[in-house]
Amino acid sequence: MKVMTIVNAVNDALDIKLGDDRNVIVYGEDVGVEGGVFRVTENLQKKYGVERVFDSPLAEDGIMGTAVGMAVAGLRPVVEMQFSGFAYPAFNQIISHASRMRNRSRGKYTTPIVVRMPYGGGINALEHHSESMEAIYGHIPGLKVVIPSTPHDAKGLMIAAIESNDTVIFMEPKRIYRAIKQEVSEDKFSIPIGKAKVLSKGSDVTVVAYGAMIREVQKAMIMAKNAGISVELIDLRTIYPIDRETIAESVKKTGRVITVVESPGSFSVASEISQIANEEAFVYLEAPPKRVTGFDTIVPLPKGEHHYIISPEKIFYEIERTVKF
């Protein structure tokens, strides 16, 4: 066991997979010499050489397109989009090829690609550096979309992502890249993609969240506890394929569900979770499925970001209202 941040954990996972599979290739903007602007790929080029870990030209479409080609030819590329806000030039390759090659070729060709991208707000960044567009990826057939919330999960999910023969969009909550430290096994282990995790058992209300929002919900849960409210917290971990079962089971028990996401609320993961509750647990619902989300606005620049960011108080406020409904 070793104390790791999410940065360390992802780095460790990449290290392990680079070590045990010669087909794993890591590239992207500044991931080689520099080790990534967040240092997630630090030291990997030194250890595995410039052929396996390298800087690409500043060309996201090209990064993604070459990854599709490499993957079809048998490699397992793990590419980095420097920020999720800069992944859009790669969108065509993601939606038109990476997610479709398997289906298009009736399984003859697969695209075992991991697309890493730091996402989310709360780091006082410039425009385009704070967005959370996971719902868009979730809506694209053929993709898996994974978001860890802890170092342990980041490592296990990253290993699973690299070992998956499907394309995985691996979104890293940069706000907690270094904020959470945890003892993580140095061995190779993986966590199944598509399985949510019940982080806390509770009886009054189910809260579904993921990524950096988990920590905020946990803060809100202290307030809830003081108010005598028992919260069941589910860490979704995978946006798609979504774990209906875990959500359904919990909502059937609590009769109430709140989803907390950083993104704009309309057409968000929160809307989806609510609808799953409708479909799976309607007769159990004692209050409307609730969403706590960002506004349907652009994430403001740092001086305005506090307005946008979801506070523990806001989460607690909605928990209380939902429980009192």
Partner: protein, 364 residues
């Protein structure tokens, strides 16, 4: 070759003229008479199939199809040059190359009839499915080249795009990255002078397309795409250089799309009869046939016989495709992921439940 046909001078590699006469011995490719005859037969097969597909389409027996008519020398030369383990990353207008790689007409028919199974190319090695989003396939080829280089394979990847496709950012990113990474990749632009209705003059103001290689530090050459020998030679040398020097090459193959863009297109809306007619004598099959006949390698009679033989074969495969089993519901779901996610299974099951209900409902 690349020095002599410097695209900056707008020179174009040509080996035979419109009468099939050799006008450029130096670059006549190293091909036996048998190989040349085979090349012609392959092109003839492709053309015969192409024309039949258009008429199948008119009969409503397949959906939209992009004719290759007039461009067969390019696909033919590609197909003749690629080895089994070489990769082909196609666009969608190079049937001859598919067939040479081992795809069957039947599969292509299935594709244009609306079955994904038609993209499987069961017995063809190292060939990508057709790529519909223009130019998006080019970066795939660069990724494949990376793998070939990484694993020190003695193979090449060849990819195809249209003149219209050169306007897309993908074209730039692919060629630019290829220039930096190096690797055994050959880019062939089928410059058929139109992207649907849009002439190449609306696509770019560069002197020609081959000259764009300069922007990427790779080699480039403009070739008469209706001259089989020139195309064969250019591709052959490019593959050699790409493999030996890990040097990407851009080939502009100048040609003309004699047919419509697709079967839903009407070219009379945007081009003149005169223009179309001016290309008749440059027809790639005509020119190669003239060469063959004047060299006593082939006769019109043989052609007639071949065509009727090909027609039978093509029709046979077409009818096989028409008798292909129905598209099962399962096939909508089962190829998206290695393991079908629970959600998809639920959706499928629910739909099956509905279908059962519907049977009853329709009865009443």
């Amino acid at each position: 070759m690349f020095e002599k046909y410097n695209p900056l001078d707008n020179n174009m590699l040509q080996v035979i003229d419109n009468d099939g006469k050799i006008i450029n011995k130096e670059f006549f490719p190293n091909l036996s008479d048998d190989q040349i005859v085979k090349a012609y037969r392959d092109m003839l097969f492709a053309r015969t199939a192409d024309l039949m597909i258009v008429s199948y389409q008119r009969q409503g027996r397949i959906f939209t199809y992009p004719p290759n008519y007039g461009q067969e020398a390019i696909a033919g030369a590609i197909g003749a040059n690629l080895k089994d383990d070489d990769w082909l990353v196609p666009a969608f207008r190079e049937m001859g190359a598919y067939l040479a790689k081992g795809a069957t007409l039947k599969e292509l028919f299935l594709y244009f009839m609306g079955y994904e199974d038609g993209s499987l190319f069961k017995n063809a090695k190292n060939i990508f499915p057709m790529s519909v989003p223009i130019a998006s396939q080019l970066t795939h080829a660069v990724g494949v080249a990376y793998e070939l280089k990484y694993n020190k394979k003695d193979n090449v990847v060849l990819t195809v795009v249209g003149d219209g496709g050169t306007s897309e950012g993908d074209f730039h990113e692919a060629l630019n990255i290829a220039g930096v990474w190096k690797g055994p990749v050959v880019f062939v632009v089928q410059n058929n002078q139109y992207g649907i209705s849009t002439p190449v003059s609306v696509q770019t103001a560069s002197k020609n397309i081959a000259v764009k290689s300069i922007a990427y530090g790779i080699k480039g050459i403009k070739v008469d795409g209706n001259d089989y020998f020139a195309m064969y030679k250019a591709i052959n040398e490019s593959i050699t250089i790409a493999k030996k020097e890990n040097m990407p090459v851009l080939i502009e193959a100048l040609t003309y799309r004699k047919g419509a863009h697709t079967t839903s297109d009407d070219p009379t809306k945007y081009r003149t009869k005169e223009e179309e007619e001016s290309w008749e004598e440059k027809d790639p099959l005509l020119r190669l046939k003239k060469y063959l006949i004047s060299n006593k390698l082939f006769t019109e009679k043989e052609e007639e016989k071949l065509i009727s033989q090909y027609k039978k074969e093509i029709d046979r495969q077409f009818i096989e495709a028409e008798n292909y089993p129905k598209y099962p519901l399962d096939d909508v779901f089962k190829y998206l992921y290695e393991d079908m996610p629970a959600d998809l299974l639920i959706q499928k099951n629910n739909h099956e439940k509905f279908l059962k209900w519907k049977e009853n409902f329709v009865k009443n």
